[in-house]
């Protein structure tokens, strides 16, 4: 039996996007936002109903594929529009729709008065539609359709305020950088088809263990390159910090629900291919942890609250990748879910702060002590920050701890130590952001106030998720989520090495406390951190610029590319190509100018010409014969 509501989970946001794109201007006031929120909320409700449909079955039977129609049928290639509901995809669908619905509600007030208000919600709905297509797809091509769709929507939304040059550039950058990964992903899909002659998940994963390890490595790495682009992992992370040019709810949506998590989902979904390779898993783990540490350092150097959150997302996604790389798939998805809650909450909190301060202030050095003026925002932000830092009983503690512990359990102590260090950085940067923004001495201008009701509502609901989400996975092996995901990702490996789970948790908490203490010492204690900034301006700048990776790209790739383009456009095209075309034109003009004199218009001249021609022919004949 299939679950009949599955297609409607996807179709509701699409309907919203279609309605609002076609008739957006006819929706008065904020009704467009209400419509969009209702549809995504409806999608969430349908996901929950579908979840209960799944729960009503036994563990191994929790898979329902809804066939809609055959999309492509060429030769031996058959691709259908099939939606797959299994524990993994329904968890993703619920996270996406649940968090997105709250972001929609928040946006109604946040985007109030924007001249393109209905279009904003049309794009948001479209974004959710494509993300749902991505997570519910039952074959690689449909997944790729959703994959490209979220890329398109990120472009539209990051560049939503396209009158601003920076926003337009950031949108293009996001599109182009992720496209590099997408191309690799597409090549990977072609390889999959060449090897398996099928793109459907069931066939491919059923036969994946029979792959030669070299082939599996190539395919897995191509898929992972796609994941790196979409999930902003090294070395394709540079688009994400710039993507902050979009409206803040868009950042929340991209970071929490609809885009960057796609890469983690892809790795977890295609884990049989990665496991057939082995090498690829190590690559995933190493790239993940290097990204996590790199972005952690970069986040510490940020002054812009949104850029700090952007680097923190890169870092957290790095942790998820790391989890997937050490085969802790359930923990990776668990972190994805809890991260969706607390990261959406942090972004929406940042949006509230920006709204409350004059000129949409984002510089944390001009904030401080906002907790008094904005108690709800401050409290919810603090919950999210504690969750992120990994303090029990908040959600992030359980998920982060399980990811970190998985490395120890597998006996890979080097990776484990690196992950702990990443967790320390996480605690430092998020505490720094919290203390700079909401605690300490006020440094802000104007008179901040709490945001409108619907924004507060979204904050509070998300804070509940960030607080209680940990209940989904109290322990790594027997948590609710781990058990539920078992049919898809297999059971969680029992820890065979290292410390016991309890001691690992204690170590994690101690590390988090040390990080928070460090930040508190600098930003709340007697230390004059503003003097430190001046004294260590060089290292600070290194961190703030993200170790100059973006500048290196600009110097090594973008500048030569632009120089080459300028050469082709202004020298080669203007001189050589245009020269050839214009030269040909000039030549014919000159020839015609000379030839036109023959055309006198006088009949008798022509007659003379005829006579001369006739005489010429006669003479020729006479001479010849």
């Amino acid at each position: 039996m299939s679950l009949p509501l599955t297609p409607f989970i996807v179709l509701l946001p699409l309907a919203g996007a279609a309605i609002l794109l076609l008739t957006g201007k006819r929706w008065p006031g904020s009704s467009a936002g209400v419509l969009a929120s209702t549809l995504v909320g409806g999608s969430f409700v349908l996901s929950v109903i579908t979840l209960f449909g799944l729960l009503g079955r036994s563990g191994s039977d929790r898979l329902a594929v809804t066939h809609l129609w055959t999309w492509i049928h060429v030769g031996t290639l058959t691709v259908s529009v099939d939606f797959r509901v299994d524990p993994l995809s329904i968890v993703m669908a619920m996270t996406v729709t649940g968090v997105a619905a709250l972001i929609h509600v928040y946006s109604i007030d946040y985007m109030q008065g924007d001249p393109r208000f209905p279009r904003f919600f049309a794009y948001l709905n479209l974004f959710v539609f494509f993300m749902l297509t991505l997570v519910l797809a039952d074959n690689f091509l449909l997944l790729y359709l959703g994959w490209e769709g979220v890329g398109l929507c990120s472009y539209l939304l990051i560049g939503f305020w396209f009158e601003r040059r920076a926003a337009a550039f950031a949108a293009k950058k996001a599109f182009i950088v992720t496209r590099i990964g997408d191309s690799a992903f597409l090549i990977g899909i072609v390889f999959i088809w060449l090897k398996f002659h099928s793109l459907s998940f069931a066939t491919v994963f059923g036969r994946a263990h029979g792959l030669a390890s070299g082939t599996a490595t190539i395919i897995a790495l191509l898929l992972f390159a796609g994941a790196c682009g979409k999930s902003a992992q090294l070395p394709l992370h540079v688009w994400l910090p710039d993507a902050m040019e979009g409206p803040t709810p868009v950042s929340a949506l991209i970071h929490a629900a609809t885009m960057v998590t796609a890469g983690v989902y892809l790795v977890v979904r295609t884990h049989p291919i990665f496991e057939a390779s082995g090498t690829a898993l190590t690559v995933v783990a190493v790239v993940g942890i290097v990204t996590a540490i790199y972005a952690g350092f970069s986040a510490i150097g940020q002054d812009d609250i949104k850029r700090l959150l952007a680097y923190s997302t890169i870092s957290q996604i790095g942790f998820m990748m790391f989890g997937a790389g050490v085969r802790a798939y359930a923990a990776a998805i668990f972190l994805l879910v809890t991260h969706a809650f607390f990261k959406a909450l942090l972004f929406l909190g940042a949006g509230s702060v920006m709204h409350a301060l004059p000129g949409d202030e984002t510089d944390m050095t001009s904030m401080g002590g906002l907790r008094a003026a904005m108690p709800i925002t401050g409290a919810t932000w603090t919950i999210a920050a504690l969750a992120m830092a990994g303090i029990p009983p908040f959600a992030g503690f359980f998920s982060k701890d399980q990811v970190v512990a998985a490395a120890s359990g597998a006996g890979r102590y080097g990776l484990w130590a690196a992950a702990l260090f990443g967790a320390l950085l996480t605690a430092v940067y998020i505490s720094r952001a919290t203390f700079l923004t909401f605690y300490g001495k006020p440094r802000f201008r104007g008179h901040p106030h709490e945001p409108a009701f619907r924004m507060r509502l979204a904050l509070v609901l998300l804070a509940m998720g960030a607080f209680a989400g940990g209940a989904l996975g109290i322990t790594a092996t027997n948590g609710i989520l781990a058990k539920f995901l078992r049919p898809v990702v297999g059971s969680v490996a029992e820890a065979t090495h290292g410390l016991s789970e309890l001691w690992l948790a204690v170590v994690s908490v101690v590390v988090a406390m040390v990080g928070i203490g460090l930040a508190a010492f600098v930003y709340l204690g007697k230390v004059d951190w503003q003097a430190l900034r001046v004294r260590f301006a060089g290292p600070k700048r290194l961190l703030q610029r993200g170790f100059y990776v973006n500048d290196a790209y600009n110097g090594l790739l973008v500048a030569p590319g632009q120089a080459a383009a300028a050469f082709l456009a202004y020298v080669f095209d203007a001189r050589v190509v245009d020269g050839a075309v214009n030269g040909l034109g000039t030549l014919f003009r000159a020839a015609a100018g000379a030839g036109r004199r023959v055309q006198t218009g006088l009949v008798r001249n022509y007659a003379l010409g005829v006579l001369a021609g006739a005489v010429g022919v006669l003479v020729y004949l006479a001479v010849r014969f």
Binding site: G595, V603, A607
Partner: protein, 101 residues
């Protein structure tokens, strides 16, 4: 005794030359037209003369065709000249030089 063919051909050449010179030096469209007719008939004469010399009727048949075509051409040509005259009140071909490049 048969008249030698050279007699006919000399007359034909003379006629053709008169026609050609007429076409080239006359300015009145009607006179040019008549000169063209002279040329045509010079050719007809040559055709008939050759036909008789060779004892082959093909040349004479061709001459008839040529006459018929010439008659049709006269109709069209005169119509053009008449309408040109109506338009411009002149039959001088040098006045009609609109196609000068």
């Amino acid at each position: 005794m048969r008249t030698p063919i050279s007699y006919f051909l000399v007359v034909s050449v003379l006629l053709f030359t008169v026609g050609t010179v007429g076409v080239l030096i006359r300015k009145n469209a009607l006179l040019i037209f008549m000169s063209v007719e002279l040329q045509l008939n010079a050719v007809n004469l040559a055709l008939v003369a050759f036909s008789r010399q060779l004892g082959n009727l093909t040349g004479q048949v061709l001459a008839f065709f040529s006459m018929v075509v010439a008659a049709a051409e006269v109709v069209v040509g005169l119509a053009i000249i008449v309408s040109l005259y109506r338009k411009r009140r002149s039959a001088d071909v040098d006045d009609a030089s609109l196609l000068r490049g």
